[in-house]
């Protein structure tokens, strides 16, 4: 188990295309860190550089107090779980899990003990004699995790391990991975493009975009206090609504939407937003903060009438899509509220949870 330290790491390909643009990240011992971002953001490249599968163009990667820039993967004492499992198809589950130990010349009894222990932990004891082709997707992923666990490495690396599984199994395996980390608290770096996976698994989430780190923080911190417009829009499902606006002083600080709708800024935020008066801004509000009107008496809540476009009942909640000044907006309402397309639905907008984004810098202020 070890710290992982990424210092000013750059990955450039031929033709000066930079996949990773000088990122810094400190991962402490036992921590579960998730790198999340859209395709091409550099998250997988970063993971592969930690693994030693990609060379580093500039900067340093430290694992457990040593610079590993020039250390081959096998000497980094890491284990990796791949998206497509990467099990050796001609070997049994036992041999797949034992392969790394055999290469490291562990005694036979020790190999058997470790494989049995990992198999018990992952509930795959009965599969040890089978070949990978005789396993289901979930079982294969367990074996892949078992292969990582038996080595007892300093760092676990997961490269989108649940992307090939169906939705139900993905949720189940997500829990298994979290349980595994609770049992074996090895430092873990996990890559995914699924922000729900990131939120549910991580001690800290690293949001990446275009080769840079947008924000690092605990899941709740990212959700409630995003640093940039990208993080605000990426974390949360359905995504945060963005409405172009301006901060005005109209007998009190307010945000004014393009269609002239004015909404008062709560007193607690007046000092923070005062300096942005007159500037082009974007109002960010999450769907759960634009909901049916039972909370309208609360201070800082504004009422807005919405003409319903599409209704999506989800069971525990209902999503209502509508337009505010031509911008598509999603609201999350109580499933018992009856509404339908074309109807006018009064919505309570909780300005206490508003976010204000400066258009010039795309930063949340």
């Amino acid at each position: 188990m070890a710290n992982v330290s990424i210092r000013k790491v750059v990955k450039a390909y031929e033709g000066d295309v930079q996949a990773v643009k000088g990122i810094d990240l400190e991962i402490i011992d036992h921590e579960f860190v998730v790198l999340v971002g859209p395709s091409g953001c550099g998250k997988s490249t970063t993971l592969r550089m930690i693994a030693g599968l990609e060379e580093i163009t500039a900067g340093e990667i430290w694992i457990g107090g040593d610079v590993v820039n020039d250390v081959p993967p096998r000497d980094r004492d890491i284990a990796m779980v791949f998206q497509n499992y990467a099990l050796y198809p001609h070997m049994s589950v036992f041999d797949n899990m034992a392969f790394g130990l055999k290469l490291r010349k562990f005694p036979k009894e020790e190999i058997k003990r470790r494989v049995d222990e990992a198999a018990t932990m992952l509930d795959i004891q009965m599969l040890l004699d089978r070949k990978p082709k005789a396993l289901s997707g979930g079982q294969r992923q367990r074996v892949a995790m078992g292969r990582a666990v038996v080595r007892n490495p300093k760092v676990f690396l997961f490269d989108e391990p649940l992307s090939n599984l169906d939705a139900k199994l993905r949720v189940q395996m997500r829990t298994e991975i979290k349980k595994l980390h609770q049992l074996v608290p090895t430092t873990t770096v996990y890559v995914t493009h699924d922000q729900i996976e990131a939120m549910t698994l991580a001690d800290r989430v690293v949001v990446m975009n275009h080769g840079v780190i947008e924000q690092v923080g605990a899941p709740q911190e990212l959700y409630h206090h995003p640093a940039t417009r990208f993080v605000a829009g990426f974390i949360g499902s359905p995504a945060m609504n963005f409405l172009p606006c301006q901060v005005i002083d109209d007998g009190g600080l307010k945000v004014q939407l393009a269609d002239g709708t004015k909404m008062a800024i709560p007193a607690a935020r007046v000092d923070r937003y005062g300096p942005y008066k007159g500037k082009k801004m974007t109002l960010g509000i999450r769907p759960e903060h634009m909901t049916e009107t039972h909370d309208s008496e609360k201070p800082g809540v504004q009422i807005m009438n919405a003409k319903v476009d599409v209704v999506e009942p989800m069971g525990m909640e209902t999503l209502v899509h509508h337009f505010v000044d031509g911008v598509a907006v999603c609201s999350r309402i109580d499933p018992n509220v009856q509404t339908g397309p074309g109807e006018i639905l009064p919505l309570a907008i909780d300005m206490n949870n508003m976010h204000l984004i400066e258009d010039a810098t795309n930063r949340v202020v």
Partner: protein, 298 residues
């Protein structure tokens, strides 16, 4: 809406019930007829070879009787060849040349394909194309320059000449098949092995070779066929009886001037054809799997 209204105004042709079934049946019949025709065309020579090998010289030269039927079957031709020291020598030479060619070609092809498809060094793409281009040069164009090279090496009239030459014919195609096959193995498999602690030779031996076995078998069969069935190079470079391989030995031993020992020629051909037939029969599934994997990967 307007599109469907327009469509509604047009006369809708009445669907012919069972027309698909009929078309399918006709296609099937056409396939059977064509295939039967080709099977007959291709099987007539080996059939004629086998029945002739079972006849006595008198029966072969007899004008009367149906030439497609054996009146008095005999294994004399086979027995005579098997007890003939020269024929045994040719057989051993063929086995030796083929075994070394296959071993050498496959070793080179597997190592080349692994490094070209997996190690991603500078110029690997150009080299891959280069390897394939050498396969496009017809062997018959090369035998005069090769004769000079072999003469310079002092290998004329030695089976070592064939051991050196056949891999030059087999390696490009075998490498090409193996590159295709290795490329179809997911990259994550070698990355997982690298992280597990394997070196490149260990990845090749413990992961790639077992996983790519169908491809290796396909390439091995090809290399075998190149060496076993070759006629031009053994004819051009070997002139003494003790060095000849089966293909050339049959002609040398069993055709004397204008006297053809047809019974024995056919028996020798049947015996020479047996090893490839046996190998193809048992490994056909692997052969097809290996070739198609290479082909689809491109």
């Amino acid at each position: 809406m307007s599109a469907s209204a327009t469509a509604g105004n047009l006369p809708v042709p009445k669907a012919k019930v069972g027309s698909m079934e009929k078309q399918r049946r006709m296609a099937l019949w056409a396939s059977y007829i064509a295939l039967t025709f080709f099977v007959i065309i291709f099987l007539i020579p080996p059939f004629y070879m086998i029945i002739t090998s079972l006849k006595t010289s008198a029966e072969i030269s007899a004008q009367a009787g149906n030439p497609w039927i054996v009146q008095n079957p005999t294994f004399d031709n086979y027995w005579e060849l098997m007890t003939n020291a020269a024929f045994q020598r040719y057989f051993i030479n063929s086995v030796w040349v083929t075994a070394v060619t296959v071993t050498l070609s496959m070793t080179i092809a597997i190592l080349a394909a692994f490094s070209l498809s997996r190690m991603g060094f500078k110029g690997s793409q150009v080299l891959s194309t280069g390897v394939f281009l050498t396969y496009l040069v017809p062997p018959s164009l090369l035998f005069i320059p090769l004769f000079q090279i072999l003469g310079w090496l002092g290998l004329i009239n030695s089976t070592w000449a064939l051991v050196l030459l056949f891999p030059t014919l087999a390696v490009p195609f075998c490498t090409w098949i193996m590159i295709g096959y290795f490329s179809s193995i997911p990259k994550e498999l070698d990355e997982a092995a690298l992280i597990d602690g394997a070196s490149y030779p260990q990845i090749l031996i413990q992961i790639f070779i077992p996983v790519a076995l169908p491809g290796i078998i396909a390439a091995t069969i090809f290399a075998f066929t190149v060496a076993w069935g070759a006629f031009l190079y053994p004819l051009a470079y070997l002139y003494s009886a003790d060095q000849a391989t089966l293909t050339v030995g049959i002609v040398r031993e069993l055709i004397k001037g204008d006297v053809f020992a047809w019974g024995m020629i056919m028996a020798a051909c049947a015996m020479a054809a047996a090893p490839p037939i046996i190998i193809y029969t048992f490994l056909m599934d692997y052969y097809i799997a290996g070739l198609t994997a290479g082909a689809t990967k491109g």
